[in-house]
């Protein structure tokens, strides 16, 4: 028994960690090995053609970029200021507790329910119709709780002594936040924002009913129009397209581009975090 124990120990640990890593490796290997052949400069810079069996995925890429930018415009200022309120100003009473509870629960709400909410509020209620703006707002709401909690986390890591340093020489609270707290928390906040946006860029369910389309001729470009997006394009190519086998390479290509976009955002976040941790 005593002799066996180290063997069980190492087997268990290696098995668990190995399996988890294997998942990642398989995912990446499959996507890269099958997606790479489809990838070319032309693939990311041209319109789809020939009933989407040829050509590129430019509109899906621009759609995703615009959508992500919109998400950022909605969620970043709101999220950061809400986090500042919670962490710097809010007294600990029932309203604050309610806000915090709301945020925690909002981040657990399934994304498809945000889709419904976006449909009911933006598409229907505010008469935006199915459009980039409606989808962007929906994703913005979805991202809000994540941005708030990561920002709060970053603010919380700033020690009280930093704030006191500013207050102690007669800065107002707002000045201490603007001049001392926010600059110190910036790397943490940025990391959170970038990670959240990478999540938003990969979301599909919330845009299903709020504005994404299968195919758009020309470039859309207007906020009140429908749009194409990478994740939805992948979904359609892999489930709905007429000649599913013919477009499989394109689907792999799309998946690879999507993963690259998301991973690039993640890398940015890691980089910010890494640089920051080195500075300390």
């Amino acid at each position: 028994m005593k002799k066996l124990s180290p063997i069980i120990e190492w087997f268990t640990l290696l098995f668990c960690t190995g399996t988890v890593l294997a998942f990642l490796v398989i995912i990446l290997y499959d996507l890269i090995s099958s997606g790479l052949p489809a990838l070319s400069w032309k693939f990311v810079t041209t319109l789809p053609s020939n009933g989407m069996t040829k050509g590129g995925i430019l509109p899906a890429i621009t759609g995703t970029v615009i959508l992500t930018l919109l998400t950022a415009v909605v969620a970043v200022p709101l999220g950061i200021s809400c986090a500042i309120y919670l962490n710097e100003y809010a007294p600990d009473h029932w309203v604050t507790r309610l806000i915090r509870a709301s945020i925690r629960n909002l981040s657990g709400v399934p994304s498809i329910i945000y889709g419904l909410f976006g449909l009911a509020l933006f598409v229907k209620g505010l008469h935006m119709g199915t459009s980039v703006i409606a989808a962007g707002l929906t994703l913005g709401l979805l991202s809000l709780p994540y941005i708030i909690s990561t920002t709060e986390e970053a603010l919380r890591r700033i020690p009280a002594s930093t704030r006191e340093a500013a207050l102690g020489i007669g800065a107002t609270q707002f000045e201490s936040i603007r001049d001392v707290v926010l600059p110190s928390a910036l790397p943490g906040i940025l990391t959170g924002v970038v990670l959240t946006l990478s999540r938003a860029a990969g979301e599909t369910a919330p845009i299903l009913f709020t504005g994404v389309a299968f195919y758009i001729t020309g470039s859309s470009g207007f906020l009140n129009q429908e749009f194409m997006a990478l994740p939805y394009h992948l979904y359609m190519l892999s489930t709905q397209h007429q000649s599913i086998v013919e477009v499989r390479p394109l689907a792999y290509g799309t998946a690879l581009v999507l993963i690259i976009v998301v991973f690039l955002l993640n890398l940015t976040a890691f980089y910010i975090r890494y640089k920051h941790s080195n500075n300390e």
């Binding site: 598409v123 119709g129 195919y215 859309s220 709905q240 397209h241 007429q242 599913i244």
Partner: protein, 256 residues
């Protein structure tokens, strides 16, 4: 112009739009698939200008349009033949309507009646808002078995059948057009509606033109009257020579 609905028609619409865009770059078309129900619902909801549909409006829908005061124009722009497909190794080439009804309704749970083998029947169908789904149900006068898989698109059905030796599914003609020789690994069944008549393939253009295939149907486009001016150039394009050629090349039929 937002065009929505009908998985059967969506790929056709995409190709038409692509070519239309070459002749007219001012108009932007946004096309989404889903079932026919999706298109019609989107019209009702004000989220589309034009709905593709592989079935006519139901009475219920007509009432709804009336109630909401929405006026429509209807265009029939092509004819489709719904094909029944099985795995390429399947021992039969044709089937009669009655047997189909029994299989799809779940009355026969195995293939015994048809092929003599008692392998279970796996039904690959469409989701319930699909025009094809309701079209087949209506034609056969049945309710689909609750065990049938509800795929989101024709393509997924083909995918399923390819690997399933005891599966059966139905798809629009356009989906099998590319694949007459069975390179996709599926076989298209010929259909008879009574024992004495000869079984007909959905790929048989002649028979379709003569309205002899059991599961043939017109493909509709419903257009909001108030969007008609926006949509008209596209409709005109469909009717043009170039448009008609595209429709035929995509595996659909045109009946005048």
């Amino acid at each position: 112009v937002k065009i929505k609905g009908s998985d059967t028609e969506v790929n056709l619409a995409v190709i038409l739009a692509e070519h239309f865009y070459k002749t007219d770059t001012h108009r932007s078309l946004a096309i989404s698939g889903g079932g026919s129900g999706l298109g019609i619902a989107s019209l009702l909801n004000g989220q589309a200008d034009m709905a593709n549909s592989s079935r006519p409006l139901t009475q219920e829908e007509k009432d709804l349009f009336e109630k909401r005061g929405i006026a429509l124009k209807t265009v029939v722009f092509a004819e489709d033949a719904t094909a029944f497909i099985v795995h390429k190794n399947f021992p039969l080439d044709s089937i009669n309507v009655q047997a189909l009804a029994d299989l799809l309704s779940g009355k026969s749970k195995t293939w015994r009646q048809v092929t003599g083998q008692s392998t279970p029947v796996n039904i690959y169908g469409r989701q319930n808002n699909s025009g094809t789904y309701s079209f087949v149900q209506k034609k056969l006068g049945i309710q689909f078995s609750a065990d049938s898989k509800e795929m989101n698109g024709n393509a997924q059905i083909i995918e399923g059948i390819k690997t399933d030796e005891s599966g059966i599914g139905y798809v629009g003609a356009g989906y099998i057009m590319h694949d007459s020789a069975g390179e996709q690994g599926v076989k298209v069944l010929r259909i008879t509606d009574s024992a004495e008549k000869k079984a007909i393939s959905p790929l048989d253009a002649q028979a379709i033109a003569e309205h002899r295939y059991f599961f043939q149907r017109p493909l509709y486009q419903f257009i909001l009257s108030r969007s008609w001016t926006k949509a008209a150039p596209f409709i005109d394009f469909e009717k043009s020579k170039k448009g008609q050629e595209i429709i035929r090349n995509s595996g659909y039929y045109i009946i005048d």
